[in-house]
């Protein structure tokens, strides 16, 4: 009896927490269709004009989106190469200082990004003449690395290394073992890490706002700048866009590798 009561209590709390998480998103999505000049809920009528404004606004959201995608995709791709190699070298061999090295690879996660941005800014100004795209790229490249390393390590921790011996005994040379066995088996972890890394880069604000130049501005900074001056439902519309985009990404991820990777 007591157990049942606890169960009901837990269910109610869980539902409340979920409502708390999802309600603001629902409000924003619905409010984005309002024809009024300020965000109101519930919306008075229905209009797509704020969606149109995303494309026609002088704030060039689309250019920001393109910049964000470029930085995010490139940094994620290169970090997959670096992060997977690092994870493999740490997991495959037993050596002194193994954990130190692993913590070193994941340390960008623990350094406050504002402090990190400040350091980078100092370095850039000492060197001088570094284009905005490169400035932001380097920052993102470093701060998203831990997500890929950590997720890859989490699969490699439970990786059955005899699979490699088995493939070898069947005639696979080390390169074939790597591409036919190790990478495919570690793939869910790598992809989960890559998704988290990309999403982090995509909506990163602190670092980008300090490092961007007027010529190269990412989408979150564009939104921030816009918000400072105007607070119309364009922001709700663009938020809806981003929510939908993330949702699609996660659904694709679920379809191809399964989401259970994220809860490990």
């Amino acid at each position: 009896m007591r157990e049942k009561r606890v169960n009901i209590f837990c269910t109610i709390v869980a539902i409340l927490v979920m409502l708390f998480l999802i309600a603001p998103l629902v409000v924003i999505v619905i409010a984005s269709f309002t024809p009024t000049a300020v965000v109101v809920f519930p919306p008075k009528g229905f209009s797509l004009k704020w969606y149109e404004n995303i494309f026609s606004s002088s704030t060039h959201f689309m250019e920001g989106l393109a910049n964000s995608l470029k930085i995010g995709l490139l940094a994620t791709a290169l970090d997959i190469l670096l992060g997977v190699t690092a994870a493999l070298s740490v997991c495959r061999h037993d050596f002194k200082g193994k954990n130190v090295l692993l913590n070193y690879f994941t340390s960008p996660m623990y350094v406050p990004s504002v402090a990190f941005a400040f350091v980078l800014l100092q370095v850039y100004s000492q060197i001088g003449g570094i284009p905005g795209a490169v400035r932001i790229f380097i920052g993102h490249f470093i701060i998203i690395l831990p997500y890929i390393v950590r997720n890859t390590v989490s699969v490699l921790h439970v990786f059955n290394w005899t699979l490699e011996d088995a493939a070898t005994s069947l005639g696979a040379n080390p390169v074939q073992v790597f591409f036919k066995i190790t990478i495919p088996v570690a793939k869910p972890g790598i992809l989960a890490g890559a998704l988290l890394a990309f999403l982090y880069s995509f909506d990163e604000v602190a670092l980008s706002s300090l490092l961007s130049t007027p010529k190269f501005i990412t989408l979150p900074i564009r939104i921030m700048n816009y918000m400072e001056l105007t607070f119309d439902p364009t922001l709700a519309a663009i938020s809806t866009f981003l929510i939908a985009g993330s949702l699609v990404l996660i659904l694709l991820m679920d379809k191809f590798v399964g989401l259970d990777m994220f809860v490990k």
Partner: protein, 354 residues
């Protein structure tokens, strides 16, 4: 289909010698069991044959040719791993076909060879399943099929039956032996289970601390272990300390804590009279009798363990050590009952104490 020869094979890890000067010659088509407890060097030996570990000293010859310079992926040795090591991202078909694809065989030939080997291990029809969708016994058959399909020179089996339940274990023992004989492939099987070793192999090698303790036919190893250590490992249950006397006809007396036991002279050859010895007997060979005679000792039952077909008793008071007969009588034996234990002289193994 090849001969395998190990000459002075040694592997050291720092100061620790895992395999110590091992010599062995396996004939074409022979099945040899490496038997020993954990850390005896049997798995290290296997890894060296496969090419995963490099010998510190000595050489490995396959068909008379040294394989030291051949990388593991070119040795053409089939390996069955203890945890099966099936590729989780591939179906049964893809797992089995993996080695054939690497040999760049044509698709129809791959399909045919996979179908043949799956029929041999009785897995026809399961080729589209993933390993996680198979039972333990089925996974094991896939692993065996995958190791055999490339037609390796030598097959290595690492604890092939250790993960299976009793019924499946017996079934697979028969299967492995059948398949091995059918293909006539030279096989080394590594195991810690003496029953598995004697039931599968043509020859058994008992290893301890990197050294070969005894090489012999399953029967020799099972009935006449060469040392008290091997006897213990082979499941001998009763060990009695004593002092051996001079020959009396075909027999020699052994004085064991005041009692006299007779052993055949042949079993104690070369042991001087007056030497301290250890006598070893299997439970199944010790009987309970009604009348006193040679090698009968009175004692009291101190423990009874029912084992289904037999009942294992512990009898104290015969000699200083506990004697453990295994009886298959219908009458229930009671704790504290006084019984007469008979240890047949022909069944006693005699080892000089060192």
């Amino acid at each position: 289909m090849a001969t395998l020869e190990l000459i002075g094979l040694t592997k050291r890890f720092g100061n620790f010698t895992a395999v110590d000067n091992m010599n062995l010659k396996a004939a074409d088509g022979e099945m040899i069991a490496l038997l020993g407890g954990s850390g005896c060097g049997k798995t290290t030996t296997l890894r060296m044959i496969a090419g995963f570990a490099e010998p510190t000293e000595g050489s490995i010859l396959v068909d008379g040719a040294d394989v030291a310079k051949i990388p593991p992926y070119k040795r053409n040795i089939g390996i069955f791993f203890q945890n099966y090591a099936l590729f989780p991202h591939m179906t049964v078909f893809e797992n089995v076909a993996f080695g054939l694809k690497l040999q760049k065989l044509k698709k129809p030939e791959i399909a045919q060879r996979v179908a043949e080997i799956l029929a041999l291990v009785k897995l026809t029809g399961l080729d589209k399943r993933y390993p996680r969708e198979l039972s333990g016994g089925q996974q094991q058959r896939v692993a065996l099929a995958r190791a055999l399909v490339t037609r390796p020179h030598i097959l290595l089996l690492d604890e092939p039956l250790s993960n299976l339940d009793a019924k499946l274990r017996i079934e697979m023992q028969v299967e492995i032996k059948r398949i091995q004989k059918e293909l006539g492939i030279t096989t080394i099987i590594v195991t810690h289970d003496h029953e598995e070793a004697v039931s599968l192999a043509d020859r058994v090698i008992v290893m301890h601390e990197g050294k070969i303790q005894q090489i012999g036919s399953p029967n020799e190893i099972f009935e006449r272990p060469c040392s008290a250590f091997v006897a213990d490992f082979m499941g001998f249950s009763t060990f009695i300390q004593g002092t051996i006397g001079p020959q009396e006809g075909e027999k020699r007396p052994v004085s064991c804590s005041g009692k006299l036991l007779y052993v055949p002279s042949a079993a104690a050859e070369g042991i001087e009279a007056g030497s301290p010895v250890t006598l070893a007997v299997r439970s199944e060979n010790i009987q309970l009798v009604a009348e006193e005679g040679e090698n009968t000792l009175p004692g009291t039952i101190s423990a009874v363990t029912y084992k289904g077909t037999t009942t294992r008793l512990e009898v104290t008071g015969c000699v200083a050590e506990t004697v453990c007969p295994a009886v298959n009588e219908y009458t229930q034996r009671q704790l504290g009952e006084t019984v007469l234990v008979h240890i047949p002289a022909q069944r006693i193994c005699v080892y000089k104490n060192v």
